[in-house]
Amino acid sequence: MSTERAVVDNALPAQPARRIKSTFLLALVLFGALNFYLDFNTPIPFDQYRFPVKGWAWWAMNDLRTSADVHNVVLLGSSLVVSAIAACDANYHKKGLDLTQYHKAAYLDHRLRTTFGGSFSTFNLALPGQMPSDAYLALRAMVNCAHRPDVVIYGIAPRDFLDSTLSSPVDTEPFRYFRRLVNLDDVANWMFRTPLAKLDWFLQRNFYLYGKAMDFQLASIELTTGLLSGLLPVPAGGKPFTWWDRTKLLPNYLPGEIIPNAVMSTPTTLKEALAAYSDNTKEYQARYKSPDPLTYKTQIYFLREMAKFCRKERIELIVVNMPVTIENAMILHPQVFYNYKQAMRAICDQDKITYFDLCDFDAFRVPDFHDTVHMNAFGGTKFLDLLVQALTVDMRAASALALAGKELDRHFFAESRPDKRPRLH
């Protein structure tokens, strides 16, 4: 005991008269001043598109940014859209598609072209887990990098508004990336729900080092990697350490990261598709377990913000209620599912958004799905056929698409780059 007490007492030795009142306060002031100075005199130009986790959102934006193609249609939505389009296109192309690189919708383009004439080049910006708040940010990020589409087709489902496993818009993987690309000032109150989240946002906006922490981290990792490559090079002849090895060793490190060839969509026969059906009811029971009214309200707000943004940018927004199995819809209370459908229709009417409800339990049955919500190649094809059919019937959507097709055609001819025209299948 005596030694401990002595050590404890030594923690606060009698100090000589101080020249300054508090070293900590001085340090705090200097730290604040440094941040203030850096805010106005940025020493390093950081690339906002760099991100430590190369997830779905990063790959999509990377593809979009590096592509010289003009896209007149963009698809938004969650994995329900990703799955339907990718599976359908894999069968359409009769080859496997690497989903880190492939963000097209070739079958949809073909159907639009044959129905409305002109040229169509769709960019699939749908991302697994995408909620309306993410879709809104994704669209803004797309427009920010000079890729304004003419038409947005946005596939929604109850999960996008009711997911109990996501308590706030900032919990999703796409959000973490898109927040770097889009100014959130006007929607910050809806994005950051808790006082702590709001404080975090405030600190990121106003403290240079905190706001740019990720950029500094990336730069320091790069610097360390470079130094270590010189000092301790990878020994020759050893077994290379791959991304697959890393995900096995450290499953929680950089969650959500994917690499080329990690997620493939391959052509399937109907027999294979039926055999591959898996029941994900338990997952959706958890997702629908306790729908949070605030999450619902927040996501509705972002759907409406997207409509507002589209109006401002003169983009035609088409919202599609995605097909799910009746088994999935039954997990929700029937009244909840019905209310959701009614609410979507009412909001779209109110905001003058073209809306199609393709969740038809007679048209889409279990053989059209991978699981209770994700469509397979056959469901995907059926979905796109029905979608184009619906688009034809709706005068406003049809004329927007016809105009978009013509515009792109005109663009190709004006550019005199017939090689750039999408091939007709």
Binding site: E4, N10, A11, L12, Q15, F31, A213, S229, P235, L249
Partner: protein, 485 residues
């Protein structure tokens, strides 16, 4: 609420300001409320547990003091200690006990399916239960009672030390509450220096090394014996910086209110033998085990055999205190065996009459430090491994290292193949720096450098730490290792 969270960054300054603007008589209730807010921010219902235990101990312990007969005193002490241990046992050891019973019965061919208890371990229970037991035993030994309930409640729930210690002594802590302290800038400066240093240890060192130990201990088969030594060293420093970082933040936070809590670490990896290690590692626990387990069992004032028995029981139970799992029990037993072996070795040296000059030479001391560190590291394998099977597999790999060194090539080091996370190859630079840093810090301690560093240096270090912590604080830092105990 984690110390390395934004929540705490708001909570601590708020309580700090409120504390110093509040008249002295309201400070204890204020800290008490703050401590319960801190504790209940995780799982509000467990606030009732800590309150219930506090009330129970506050009401029962005076019965020990009031009892006139020694027999009655003993009886009441037994009741209090048993009540605390049963509570700890229910929350911490019930599942483990049922599994052990099941495994034992299965050995004899008896089928027994243990019920699933769904018990969530309340944070810090092992720490505050030990503080209650300490209080009861000290009162039994004739020390004064705590008269004020609020003081006693704050002793148990004081938020800086609530979750992972240091385990306080009430004789040291309670008197500080009565002193009407005036604010001193020194409290703020020294407290914040400790907090920043603690966060640095946790966020920048321990959390990065955690990636290495997580990979190595969950997939030992993927690494060579030399890699596994590096991974074991990495864990040795991870657990040290994690816990020492936590303790620094706890001590710094307490100091902001003018309160001192005991230190927990004193450069443990420069210990020259395992007994010395336990004088430097988790000091508040080791002294608790000495005072309330080893000495009541008979201590060292008995026959040698009994003393070794006491030592072994104390360390084994100390191991089990860390967690309800066989590998913690084995780790504790291993420490007990090391301490016994050390005593025997010391006796042998004394008997052999080896030249005193040799034993006191710097070379002998340096070799002792290295050997002790390696024995401690082998212990960490039991501590960190996910189960006994993994621990044995890792140790059987570790012992093959001398043979691997005989035909050493860089290709043997899988850590050099891994470039993401970069901390894997960086181990070859980080670990020697951390190892050398220990004697260097010790030398600076001897020179009493830390007692009066130049103010410009203090400010510079603090600004640098603020910048580093702002940049490198991850979105989701892992919890402190000792939170689980």
């Amino acid at each position: 609420m984690l110390f390395n969270s934004l929540q705490y960054l708001v909570f601590l300054p708020t309580v700090f300001v409120l504390f110093w603007i509040t008249p002295h008589r309201f400070r204890v209730p204020l800290l008490l409320v703050a401590s319960y807010v801190f504790y209940m921010s995780w799982r509000p219902i467990y606030g009732l547990l800590i309150f219930g235990l506090t009330l129970g101990n506050f009401l029962l312990v005076p019965l020990i003091a009031k009892a006139t007969e020694q027999k009655d005193k003993k009886w009441w002490l037994g009741v209090v200690v048993a009540a605390n241990l049963i509570t700890l046992g229910i929350f911490k050891y019930a599942t483990f006990s049922l599994i052990t019973v099941k495994d034992t019965l299965n050995l004899f061919g008896v089928q027994f399916r243990e019920p699933h208890l769904h018990i969530i371990l309340p944070l810090g229970i092992s720490f505050f239960v030990f503080e209650f037991i300490h209080y009861a035993v000290e009162v039994y030994r004739g020390k004064p009672l705590v008269k004020k309930f609020f003081d006693f409640a704050l002793f148990a729930s004081f938020f800086p030390t609530q979750i992972a210690g240091p385990i306080k002594r009430y004789q040291d802590f309670i008197p500080q509450l009565d002193i009407p302290a005036k604010f001193k800038w020194q409290y703020l400066d020294e407290g914040m220096q400790l907090i920043l240093m603690g966060l640095f240890k946790k966020v920048l060192i321990a959390d990065n090394l955690a990636l290495v130990s997580q990979a190595g201990f969950s997939h030992p088969g993927n690494f060579s014996s030399l890699d596994l030594w590096l991974i074991t060293y990495a864990f040795a420093f991870q657990i040290f910086f994690d816990f020492a970082g936590y303790t620094d933040i706890a001590r710094g936070s307490a100091l902001l209110f003018g309160y001192k809590v005991p230190i927990n670490f004193n450069l443990p990896y420069i210990a020259s033998n395992v007994a010395d290690f336990w004088h430097r590692w988790h000091i508040s626990l080791s002294t608790w085990l000495r005072d309330y387990l080893f000495i009541p069992l008979g201590g060292s004032r008995c026959s040698q055999w009994k003393m070794y028995r006491n030592l072994f029981i104390t360390m084994t139970l100390g191991g089990l205190w860390h967690g309800a799992a066989m590998h913690f029990l084995v780790w504790g037993a291993y420490q007990g065996i090391l301490l016994i072996a050390h005593r025997e070795y010391s006796r042998l040296l004394e008997k052999s009459g080896l030249a005193k000059s040799l034993l006191q030479s710097k070379i002998y001391h340096a070799v002792s430090v290295v050997v002790t560190f390696h024995f401690v590291c082998i212990g960490w394998v039991f501590f960190r491994a996910e189960n006994m099977q993994d621990a044995c597999a890792i140790i059987s790999q570790l012992v093959q290292a001398p043979a691997a060194l005989l035909h050493f090539s860089m290709q043997q080091l899988s850590v050099l193949q891994i470039r993401d996370p970069i901390v894997f190859p960086a181990l070859l630079i980080i670990l020697p720096i951390l190892m050398i840093a220990q004697p260097v810090v010790n030398w600076l301690n001897d020179k009493r450098f830390y007692l009066s560093p130049p103010w410009a240096l203090q400010v510079g270090v603090m600004v640098a730490l603020m910048c580093l912590l702002t940049i490198f604080s991850p979105d989701s830092s892992p919890r402190f290792i000792y939170f689980q105990f």
